[in-house]
Amino acid sequence: MVKIKTLKKILTAIVLCFGALAIVASCSDDEKKEPEPVIDPIAPPAQNVEGSYTGNMTCTIMNQEVSFENMTFKFKATGDATVDVTIPTFSYSGYDSPVAMVIPEINVAGVKVSGEKDTYSIAETKFEGTSDAGKKYSGVLKGTSVGGQLTFNFNLTLGSMPMPMICTFTGSRKID
């Protein structure tokens, strides 16, 4: 009998310990992490791509490699298989030029996405437009999203740039 009571106490202690750990772990998650994005296997592709992606970007501009940190790209579902893409503004001061080149925020509508489970492709899409400052731009974009990790490429020519800048962004998804 004593042995049984002792065993119960031990089991209870173990359960309490695990429970406490779970509470601590839970509290810790609440303080440090955003809610995990949910990949809904039966949801349309656009819904599983939608969100904000924050990460770093590397660009090749006039044969120079330039890095940009903490960039946020946004994807908004506009249909089952289409998203609007927002490339954030950034600036670049190349070579010895006294004037920094400002790349405006660029919105590309109607980009097709496809895929299933946790792997999605953002179709290669041409885009063009005019910035608020009146500069024409044009380019091509494409990307892949695997388990909420986005690899996004775009080729952009702004104004009379003699050759396009080619950028690769990698970032993690969070739901807005």
């Binding site: 090749t60 006039m62 044969n63 190349g94 070579y95 010895d96 030029s97 006294p98 004037v99 920094a100 080149m101 290669e124 063009e128 005019t130 500069k135 024409k136 731009y137 044009s138 380019g139 091509v140 494409k142 490429n153 080729n155 020519t157 702004l158 104004g159 009379s160 740039m161 003699p162 050759m163 396009p164 080619i166 690769t168």
Partner: protein
């Protein structure tokens, strides 16, 4: 001699080159307008029935000495590309033609995909392009607009490698390319031609209309081209410098009117309009050129000629964004030129003296506040052509040029000799070259797309060069075998030394000027090389030719990210041509070119070769069909550098040419 449809077949051997010439004509003669004299190229009969002329070399050239000389007698390296060669190549402009015909010559791209020439280590600013002896206004990234130089009604193209400043002044440092217009003698002539090319869905339509009477001769040419942008590589390819070849449209119309006032006096009036639209990612660049001129040629006596001419050329550039003209890329270059040229011959000797006046005006977006600058240049030159012995020819010339903008002058000279030691010909020459700093190089102040500043330098000195040439040539016949025919072998070596070559170097911030690059003079640039050419042509129509060029350069200014010297290059051709019946003639060739990897401090292209198959058939009276497969081994660069072959693999073109006057 067959006068129904007869072809010249001459063996042409310049110092640096040799090629077979086929100047197809009808009964009658083909006249070539050389600018100052009317030159007649006769023909020798159907080569299928007779032995080709043994080193006849009667083709007349004018560029090397500014006087007419047969190619075998000219003591300066000259390469001739005939109208028939142009026709077989089905080339649209001079760029297409030279790329195919000359080893050691390469067209690449620069910056905003402007064309960039490299001819044996010389850039576009060092090679003087002329049309009937006249300069061209306008440049972009140091190169004239080669699209202007369409080949309708071009009788021949003459290429003189090496410095020729003692005759042509500034820019003739690395060579002279002269396009010479035909002057037809038939009562009328009408050619209509078109071509479709798979690369870029390129269309070309053109025509050439001539009338001829005892007093008047009129020639009108028209050409229209259009092409679409071609993607060369993946848009996310970060190694390639060029991802697309941009499309565009061109329109070119030219008129030349000749009035023969008497047997000894004639006047030549000409006018032209050129328009080009170049489609870019976010804008279109529009280029326009207006040209006109009047020339008189007076044969004072049998041995004396005086030529006076006036020429105007205006080249404009503007930019359009979304269909609206923007004021930030306006450019206009206007040149007014007056020439005088006097020639006198006595016996086999000749004297040539000339003077030129040029007013050069430039307004450019690359100047501060779209400012404008102008300068006047004046020159005088004299040349003595001395033939003391039947086997010896000596030509000596000297010239002085003055430029007002820099208030500097340049004296250049040339001494060229030719020894005819049958069966060998030896040519040796020294020639001086110079290039005055251009208005752009002196006054530029330009922020290039926010990337870097480029500054001109008003204190620039003229660029000077010293060119030495030695060439051996041997021609002959093989008569005792089934491969009876003619051959020629030439070998030429050259050495160029530069003083004060104009280039750019990094510039630190000083005073009001930001950091950037500035034009400066640089000494110690050397260019040297060897060219070897060989050809053989049999009586039954089979021909083979090969050319090899070795190039060595010293000095960084020749090596840029756009233009880089390739040590080895070669061209070759195996062809067959025959008239099978009255209305059917066949020409087929396999040709190719090889370019070795450039010697460069930059990341650059590798070695490559391109092969081409050409099939030209004259299927009826005046009807010719050209079918060309280019890049037949489907070569594609792994990385597209500025000087890589702009190809996406095998492509083809189909052309049709109608000589309407031959149909009636």
């Amino acid at each position: 001699m067959n006068r129904g449809l007869t072809y010249i077949h001459l063996t042409i051997c310049g110092l640096l080159s040799s090629l077979s010439i086929h100047a197809g004509t009808h009964a009658g003669m083909t006249h070539v307008e050389t600018g100052s004299l009317l030159v007649v190229a006769d023909f020798n009969g159907d080569r299928n029935d007779s032995i080709p002329e043994d080193v006849s070399l009667q083709e007349v050239v004018i560029t090397a000495t500014r006087t007419p000389k047969t190619l075998k007698d000219v003591p300066v390296v000259t390469r001739v590309i005939t109208a028939e060669d142009i026709s077989k190549a089905d080339a649209t402009n001079i760029q297409d033609l030279l790329t195919e015909e000359l080893p050691g010559l390469e067209f690449g791209y620069a910056m905003s995909q402007e064309t960039s020439l490299n001819m044996s280590g010389f850039g576009g600013s060092s090679v003087l392009f002329l049309v009937d002896g006249e300069r061209l206004a306008g440049e972009t990234m140091d190169n004239v607009d080669y699209n202007r130089l369409n080949l309708d009604n071009v009788g021949q193209v003459e290429i003189v490698k090496g410095a020729s400043s003692a005759l042509y002044g500034a820019n003739a440092v690395g060579g002279v390319v002269n396009l010479i217009t035909q002057e037809r003698t038939e009562p009328w002539h009408l050619n209509i031609n078109g071509r479709y090319k798979g690369f870029g869905n390129e269309w070309r339509a053109g025509g050439d209309l001539s009338f001829n009477t005892s007093k008047w001769n009129s020639n009108t040419t028209l050409q229209y081209t259009s092409s679409e942008t071609v993607r060369l590589t993946d848009p996310f390819d970060i190694e390639s410098k060029i991802h697309e070849v941009f499309g565009g449209k061109t329109f070119n119309v030219k008129e030349r009117l000749i009035f023969r006032a008497s047997d000894r006096l004639r006047f030549i009036a000409r006018g032209g309009y050129f328009s080009r639209k170049s489609f870019r990612a976010n804008y279109d660049d529009h280029y326009k050129d207006y040209t006109g001129g009047l020339r008189s040629i007076w044969e004072i006596s049998k041995n004396q000629t005086l030529e006076l001419s006036y020429s105007y050329d205006q080249y404009d550039k503007v930019r359009y964004v979304a269909g609206m003209r923007t004021p930030d890329h306006d450019y206009s270059n206007r040149q007014n030129i007056v020439h005088g040229l006097y020639t006198k011959f006595w016996g086999s000797n000749g004297l040539t003296a000339g003077a030129d006046f040029m007013h050069d005006y430039l307004t450019s977006y690359q100047f501060s506040n779209n400012d404008s600058h102008s300068q006047t240049s004046i020159d005088a030159f004299v040349q003595f052509d001395y033939n003391p012995l039947s086997w010896l020819n000596i030509i000596a010339s000297v010239r002085d040029d003055y430029f007002s903008a820099s208030d500097k002058n340049a004296v250049t000279s040339r001494l060229a000799t030719m020894f005819k030691l049958d069966p060998l010909s030896i040519r040796a020459s020294y020639s001086g070259g110079f290039r005055a700093p251009t208005l752009k190089e002196m006054y530029m102040s330009f922020d290039m797309a926010g990337i870097m500043m480029i500054y001109g330098n008003p204190n620039l000195k003229p660029e000077r060069s010293h060119n030495f040439n030695l060439a051996l040539e041997r021609n002959g016949m093989v008569r005792s075998s089934t491969l009876e025919g003619s051959y020629s072998v030439t070998m030429a070596g050259y050495y160029n030394y530069y003083d004060s070559r104009i280039t750019t170097e990094d510039f630190p911030a000083t005073g009001d000027l930001e950091e950037g690059v500035m034009y400066v003079n640089e000494d110690g640039v050397k260019v040297m090389g060897v060219d070897v050419n060989a050809r053989y042509r049999t009586l039954f129509g089979l021909g083979a030719s090969a050319s090899y060029s070795f190039l060595h350069t010293v000095g960084r200014s020749i090596d840029s990210q756009f233009t880089q010297p390739r040590p080895h290059s070669a061209t070759w051709r195996l062809d067959y041509e025959r008239q099978f019946c009255k209305n059917y003639r066949l020409y087929a060739s396999i040709s190719g070119r090889y370019l070795s990897k450039p010697e460069s401090d930059y990341e650059t292209d590798g070695a490559y070769s391109l092969w081409k198959f050409t099939l030209r058939q004259q299927v009826w009276k005046g009807v010719s069909v050209n079918f060309i497969v280019d890049n037949i081994f489907n070569y594609r660069p792994k990385v597209y550098y500025w000087n890589s072959a702009p190809t996406t693999g095998t492509t083809w073109s189909l052309g049709l040419s109608l000589e309407l006057d031959e149909m009636f």
